[in-house]
Symmetry: C2
DNA sequence: GGCGCTATCTATAAGTA
DNA sequence: TTACTTATAGATAGCGC
């Protein structure tokens, strides 16, 4: 669509390649905007110049656009620049590049918690759903860990009391047998020295497996970062 | 560029909006391709239809393109279809829409495990890192759950044995005291009726808290789906 | 819904300042 | 360079299958 038809291959002349880049880049972004408006769809166009500059168009790119979030996130991982969110201006490097921090992303995602239609299975919905599911998962894990720890604590307490009772019983058996052997019939006088042989009918001291988790090793409830994607 | 100039606003008629979407989408992608060829730059165009279909053009898009991976993942979350990766063909739904199953995505990601420079903090690197961290997290969780369950089992076994020993000791105490009271001095004849009063010095039966986790309720080691992102 | 047609509108290659 | 102009190639709106 110029004075002459051009071959579809890299323009070798640097100057005219730059001119064409500028013109066609603008045209591409303009058409992308028109498509998104006319057909009410999400469109994203990214153009990386050879000098690393990003020229982008992201439709409906308020900070709540899912697509722009994807791309900003991509941008985040690429560099640390930041600029204002400004979508309706002409395309130019300074206004086209939009960066969003992870924190802002979190806030934006959380805003979607309010109104979400079940029918529109949009990216936003899935993001929201993932967030909710993940929250539920984290809560479940924490509750599980809590119950586990409580269970262990209870069992240990039980063990402690049983062992204590056991020791007292052994003491008592020893005393009673001691009195028996010495012919002492005074019921309340039960202090005697335990004889080893007197306990042969008692079960052997219980051999228990060593505990696998020590107090300090018990993992705390899992703290997971919210997964946004 | 049609028989008539159209207003730049959403086309209300659904049918003609669909037609325009198809035509302009093709045009946009064609122009994107031309721009990338003529000016030798990286260009990406993403168009999401309202039904969640992704039409994309990514210049130089081998399957290792990070951008196309982002989008294929989005596609994954939208539906389960799959098609070949084919970037250099004409744009049309069948060739332009590139879907990748979760499994394929995993393989692709895993391929990145081989050569990764620490300096290049690219998206691929982060994907890989996240995967590794997540694997470690899952393993940690499973191991934690396993140790927890083993601990609970061990403690219960211990409790069982202690209780058993305890009962035997109580029996013995009762027998011995019975013999004492009846004046029977034969050591081996220890069968006697337990007198209630004889055990007043024994500690009261241990009062333990009820277990919070019953056998059937014990959660199994956490089975988490691998998080890819 | 998709394809082809074509009059018309748009984008832009070259030319000019 | 950057910007404007202009002739043309290219895109597409409306229509008919």
């Amino acid at each position: 669509m110029g004075r002459r038809k051009i071959e579809m291959k890299r323009i070798e002349d640097k100057s005219s390649r730059q001119v064409t880049f500028s013109k066609r880049r603008s045209g591409l972004i303009k058409k992308a905007r028109e498509l998104s408006i006319l057909c009410d769809v999400d469109v994203a166009v990214l153009v990386f110049s050879h000098r690393g500059r990003l020229y982008e168009f992201v439709s409906g790119a308020s900070s709540s656009s899912s697509l722009s979030q994807i791309l900003r996130r991509y941008q985040d991982s690429t560099d640390g620049k930041a600029s204002n969110v400004d979508d309706e201006t002409e395309d130019s490097p300074s206004t086209c590049i939009q960066v969003q921090t992870c924190g802002e992303l979190v806030k934006t995602v959380e805003r979607y918690a309010e109104g979400s239609g079940i029918e529109n299975l949009s990216l936003e919905d899935f993001m929201q759903l993932e967030k909710q599911l993940n929250d539920a998962l984290v809560q479940t894990r924490n509750r599980k860990a809590q119950l586990m720890l409580e269970s262990v604590a209870t069992l240990r307490e039980k063990e402690k009391m049983l062992t204590q009772e056991n020791d007292q019983l052994k003491d008592e058996v020893a005393k009673v047998k001691g009195n028996l052997n010495r012919g002492n019939r005074t019921d309340l006088e039960l202090n005697g020295v335990m004889e080893e042989g007197a306990l042969i009918q008692c079960p052997e001291p219980v051999r228990t497996l060593p505990l696998l988790i020590e107090e300090g090793e018990c993992p705390e409830p899992v703290k997971t970062l919210p997964l946004l994607w």
